[in-house]
Structures are given as C-alpha cells and as structure tokens.
C-alpha cells in the first residue's frame, strides 16, 4: 500500500510515506452554515454526529455519509499525496477483434479526440448500443501514452461485470478492481475500475476519467459523485460520461450545445427500439384493497403464460410486490418476485435466465444491466413517482436486446399519464427517428 495518488485518513495509514510530498488537512471543517466533510462533500447536518472520542478526549464530530470508507472526524485528518505519480506506458495493449457499427465508430472517434485533448464528452447511447466497446480505442490510445485511466460505475455488480471484460481485451495491463471489500484496495494501477465510493480514496490520480451510467446514481449520492470525480482526476484530464438516459438538465445542455455529446441512437443489431404503449388500468391501488388486480393486467399475465413468453412485471414498491406475488402464483406457481434486499436475488435472476420462471415481478432494481433475450416487459402503476423518465427508458430498454429477437412488447399500465411517461416515450421515438435519419436502422 502506498499513498501515491491518494487521500487517506491518518488512521488508515500504517506504512511509512515521504513527508515532503504530503499535505495534511482537516477532514471535517466547520463553516458558517454548519459542518462539511472534506472527503465526500456532505453538508447535510443530519448526517453528522458526535461521540466522546477516546483519541482526542473531546466530543468529536464525524461524517456519517462516508462512514463505510472509514470515519472522517475532527481529530482524524486527511493525508493527501501531492508528489509525482509515476506512469507506465504500453504499446497498443488492446487485443480485440470485434467490429464497431457506424454509430459506434463515430462515438469511438469522439472519445479518442476527447482523451487526446483532455476534454469532456457525454456519450449518449441507447440501451443495447454497445457502449463499452466504444471506449476500447480511446483506452488503448491513453494506455499507449502512459495515461492512467479510471472507469467508475455506481454499483458493485456493474464493476464485477466490467472488470473481466476489460481484463480480456487488455491482457497485459495491470487492472485494479475496487468495490467495498475488494482485494485490490489501495492499489494504483494503469487501469482502475471502481465504484464511486472507492474514488473517495484517490486524489488527482487519473488522466482519463470515465463515468458509466451517470444517471443510475441515487439522487442522494449525486453531489458526492461529481465531487469525488473532480477530486480523483487530475486537473488536466479528460472526463467521459456514458449514459442511456441523461437527466433533463443534461439533455437541455446537449441541445443548446453547452455540453459536448455524441449519440448512438440505434442498437448494434440495427433494429429500432421498441416503443412503449400506454394502457389505462384504473385505480389499481384501490382495487388491490379487495385483493383484485386490474383485468387488463390479469389478461396480460394470462397471455404471456399462454404464449409461453417470458416477461418482467415492474411494480413501484417492495410492500406491494410482496403482496402481489402470492396472488399471481395462483395463476402459475413458478411466478416469482425479486427486490433489492432479496437474499435470493441472484438465484432468481439466474432461474429467470434459464427460463424456469415465466414472469418475474420486480421493483426498479432490475431496470438496468439484466439482459435476457426474447422477453416482454410491463409496468404496473407507471404513474408512481419512482418511475422517472430515465427509469422507464431503461425498463423499455430490456426488450429486444438480442439480434435474434430484436422486437418485443413494452406496456405501461397506468392510472393517469405522467410527464415522465410521456417524456420516456418521446425520448425513445426521438432516438429511433434520429437513427433512421442517420441510416442506422434496417427496415
């Protein structure tokens, strides 16, 4: 373990370091508006607490927001590396023989340019566009120039999926895979794949910072994310954001030209994105008080069981999910429900992939990442606030992913249309239009 490129709490450091290249700063500062955590930028006073500290003998304030990364407290300063960071260069380490689609190639060129010029760039690619491949050429170039790369993503499952893929195409490059409890903690590699939380340990370390699925971050860590990204990357570095569903503000900035962006509006298999259909289902919550589901939803379930076509049914809350699954199991005993805290989450998703579960009822946790060929999706209670534009676009994006089964049905059962629903549908239609215009779809 070394301090190079990092900012660590004094209590975390049990090894010698060069004091010439180090700056020591308070981790918790008191401002006019209250306490602020210097490591994670938390300024929510409800997420500060104090305790009788045996180390300093006083009542010591600490940050509860980033506590899982070690306790930032008034008597535990941050030790920041300000010295040089060595670099290693590789000669064209990319070992990949795949081919990029026209739109991917264009985006790939833009990524290379951004890395070359230390610019920032948003890659706005639809679900199933093949975002990761778009990075390969740029990463190859950066590694050849001895630049240090960090790819950050919100969740551990994404990290665990990305790291082996990158190790495969860059077999000679040293890769650090960082998440809570990982073995690589403290490593400074040429290529780092990290959850955002782990970025809090790095300081001015990376020449290329790539943030995957920017919009997937829960709202509460949003401000922490941009702060962590800014601190972890060098002042002179490139910043690349990848997303299928940029938020409203970013979409506006792209439109007005304030934010540099490149879009991949079509999937690699050159079929249009399935467009959701809205179906009014009445006051389903009221109906459920009598343990009844809207008849159109029951029909949808029946049809899928009859056709033997697998489907996801998204519902707004865990509580509702747990009530509705037993009732659906009367229609088919193998229908299952899965939610974020489900201990059998992995097993159930696997069973669904194997075709052993006809319909998987789920909360929004499966909105991303899970790719199963030839499925339909439906949302019950689409008007609920948890179904934001980006969530709905992601949900619709589960359908028609494979080249073999490029189409499918996306159904939004609702009790009153919301702005988010309309925006999501328009978003998808606009992407298809753009793809047609650019000749990226075969019809």
């Amino acid at each position: 373990m070394s301090l190079v490129g990092k900012q660590l709490l004094k209590s975390e450091i049990s090894f010698p370091y060069d004091e010439k290249h180090v700056q020591i700063i308070e981790s918790i500062v008191k401002t006019k508006r209250g306490y602020v955590c210097v490591r994670c930028n938390n300024d929510d006073q409800q997420l500060f607490a104090s305790f009788p500290c045996a180390r300093c003998g006083r009542i010591c304030m600490y940050c509860r927001k980033c506590i899982m990364m070690g306790r930032c407290s008034e008597c535990n300063p941050l030790v920041i590396w300000t010295g040089p960071i060595p670099s290693t260069s590789f000669s064209s380490p990319l070992k990949w023989s795949g081919k990029l689609s026209t739109a991917q190639q264009l985006a790939s060129d833009e990524v290379c340019q951004a890395i070359e010029r230390n610019d920032s760039l948003l890659v706005w690619a639809v679900c199933g566009a093949g975002k990761t491949e778009v990075l390969f050429a740029g990463m190859n170039m950066a590694l050849s120039q001895g630049k240090r790369i960090c790819l950050a993503a919100p969740r551990t499952d994404v990290i665990l999926e990305l790291a082996p893929r990158l190790a495969n195409v860059f077999p000679s490059v040293d890769i650090a895979t960082l998440y809570g409890g990982s073995q690589d903690r403290g490593k400074l590699a040429s290529l780092t794949v990290s959850t955002t939380h782990q970025l809090l340990r790095y300081y001015r370390a990376f020449d290329v910072m790539i943030v995957d699925e920017v919009d997937a971050f829960p709202y509460s860590v949003d401000s922490m994310l941009s702060y962590a990204v800014e601190r972890a990357r060098k002042t002179n570095s490139s910043l690349i954001y990848l997303t299928a569903t940029p938020n409203e503000q970013w979409q506006r900035e792209v439109k007005s030209g304030k934010r540099k962006a490149v879009t991949i509006p079509a999937r690699y298999h050159r079929h249009p994105l399935p467009v959701p259909t809205f179906e009014w289902c009445g006051n389903w919550q009221k109906k459920w008080r009598h343990k009844q589901l809207p008849s159109c939803v029951v029909r949808w379930v029946d049809e899928h069981l009859e056709k033997n076509k697998q489907a996801f049914l998204f519902v707004p809350h865990i509580d509702f999910l747990q009530q509705v699954v037993p009732s659906l199991q009367q229609l088919h005993p193998r229908i299952e429900g899965v939610h974020a805290e489900d201990p059998k989450r992995k097993e159930k998703v696997l069973a669904f992939r194997r075709g052993q579960i006809p319909i998987l009822v789920t909360t929004t946790i499966l909105e991303r990442g899970v790719t199963v060929p030839n499925i339909d999706v439906a949302v019950l209670g689409t008007e609920q606030p948890i179904f934001t534009e980006s969530a709905l676009v992601q949900i619709a994006g589960r359908v028609g992913r494979s080249a073999q089964y490029p189409t499918g049905d996306v159904r939004f059962f609702h009790f009153g249309k919301t702005k988010a629903m309309v925006a999501a549908k328009r978003h998808i239609i606009r992407m298809n239009d753009e793809a047609r215009k650019r000749g990226l779809i075969d019809e």
């Binding site: 607490a49 305790f51 009788p52 045996a54 010591c60 600490y62 509860r64 506590i67 899982m68 509460s220």
Partner: protein
C-alpha cells in the same frame, strides 16, 4: 425525519399516547426496526440463549467450573441484519447508531435488573480503543443512566472475534483497576455474548475483588 440506519426520510405517526407520556418517536424507520429481532420465548434461564431446556449444556459446564456469574440477559438475536448494523457501529465507528438501541436496551434492562446496581463495561485494550475511538460496551452502558465503574483493565491485546472457541477459554484477559467494587451488586455490560468466556472471566475477577451478586447484560446473544 431521517432514519438513523438507512438515512431514508420517513414520517412517524404522532399519537395522543406520545403526547401524554412524552414518549419519543422511534429514530429508525419501521422497515429497519422490524429487522431487529428481540430475544423472546423459551430461553436458558442463565444465559438467555434460545433453548427448550431451562439450563443449557454450556451453562451447566459454567456451573461446574463455579463461575461467579449468576446470569446473563441480552436484548437481541444475532441475525444478518444485526451483524451488518453492529459492524457499522463497532468497526466503522458510526457511534450515532447507539440511538437505535436505546429504548429496547432500557426496557429489557429494567425488566430484569433493579436500579441499585453498578455497571462494569468490558474494557478494550488501549490500542484498540485508540483505533476505534470509543468502547462499544461503554456506549451501551451509557444508555442506562446508572453509575458506571471502570473496574477492569484488559491485559491481552488480541481481538476476541479473531480467536477460535478453544482459544477464548485460556489465559487471563483482565486485571483490576483501583476502583472499589467490594460488596456491590454488579452488572457487567458488553455488546455480544457468544461463548460467554469474556463475561464469565470478568465476573470471576470481580468476585475476587469482593463484588457480590454479579450478572451480565449484553446487547446481543449469538
């Protein structure tokens, strides 16, 4: 308000009972609260472990060794949720989580103990205390608003949770400080009772110092 554990915003229902008794609203949300399981039902009358016989096999052995500990009471079962919360509290050092235990700890304690006792928290070694910044046993004892006596000092430096069952039974862990415990009714306080080796040894040391009627109270019975 924010749940002290999951930080989600939630609203507690106000009731007349709360107004009249000045009872505080819960600091954690109903979902987090429901995952703590209080020890209830058939238990060993000596150590609080869930058991169908009145005195469990382990406690019969302690009896044969003439342990000075009369009995142990605990508040919660050690489930995965508790493991997660206690890990954040003790090892990550999120002291504020102690608030989630306050009302249950006070309720269970007052059910089994009178208020004329003195609390002796199990100490940490100086190096461990410096590392964590606080002693979890002392934090639990501080919820009870009863006099605390720091009568014990830890000799060895090894973490209990890193030892095997066998290793926990050998060697001396504690010595006495200057504090006077002679003739006093003592309740030893710790975070978790696993094999019981820690509290039984502490009880024997306190017995030698003249303490009488020694029991223990832990947050968790694993």
């Amino acid at each position: 308000m924010k749940c002290v554990i999951c930080h989600d915003e939630w609203m507690s229902a106000m009731s007349f009972a709360m107004l009249l008794t000045l009872r505080q609203a819960d600091v954690c949300c109903p979902r987090c609260r429901a995952r703590f399981i209080r020890l209830e039902g058939n238990r060993c009358e000596r150590c609080s472990r869930l058991s169908d016989v009145p005195i469990c096999a382990d406690c019969i052995k302690w009896q044969q060794r003439q342990s000075a500990l009369r009995q142990n009471y605990s508040v919660y079962i050690y489930n995965d949720w508790m493991k997660e919360v206690i890990n954040r509290f003790k090892f990550r050092g999120d002291y504020a989580l102690i608030e989630a235990f306050r009302s249950d700890v006070r309720a269970v304690f007052s059910k089994y103990f009178s208020s004329d006792v003195f609390l002796v928290p199990i100490p940490l070694s100086p190096s461990r205390l410096a590392e964590r910044g606080f002693n979890q046993a002392e934090a639990i004892a501080s919820l009870l608003s009863l006099p605390i006596i720091f009568a014990l000092r830890r000799i060895d430096d090894e973490k209990q949770s890193k030892k095997t069952r066998r290793e926990r039974f050998v060697g001396r862990k504690f010595c006495l400080t200057e504090e006077d415990v002679a003739g006093k009714r003592i309740v030893i306080v710790d975070d978790i009772y696993t094999t019981g080796a820690t509290v039984h040894e502490a009880a024997n040391v306190l017995y030698v110092a003249g303490a009488r009627d020694i029991s223990s109270f832990t947050l968790i019975r694993s």
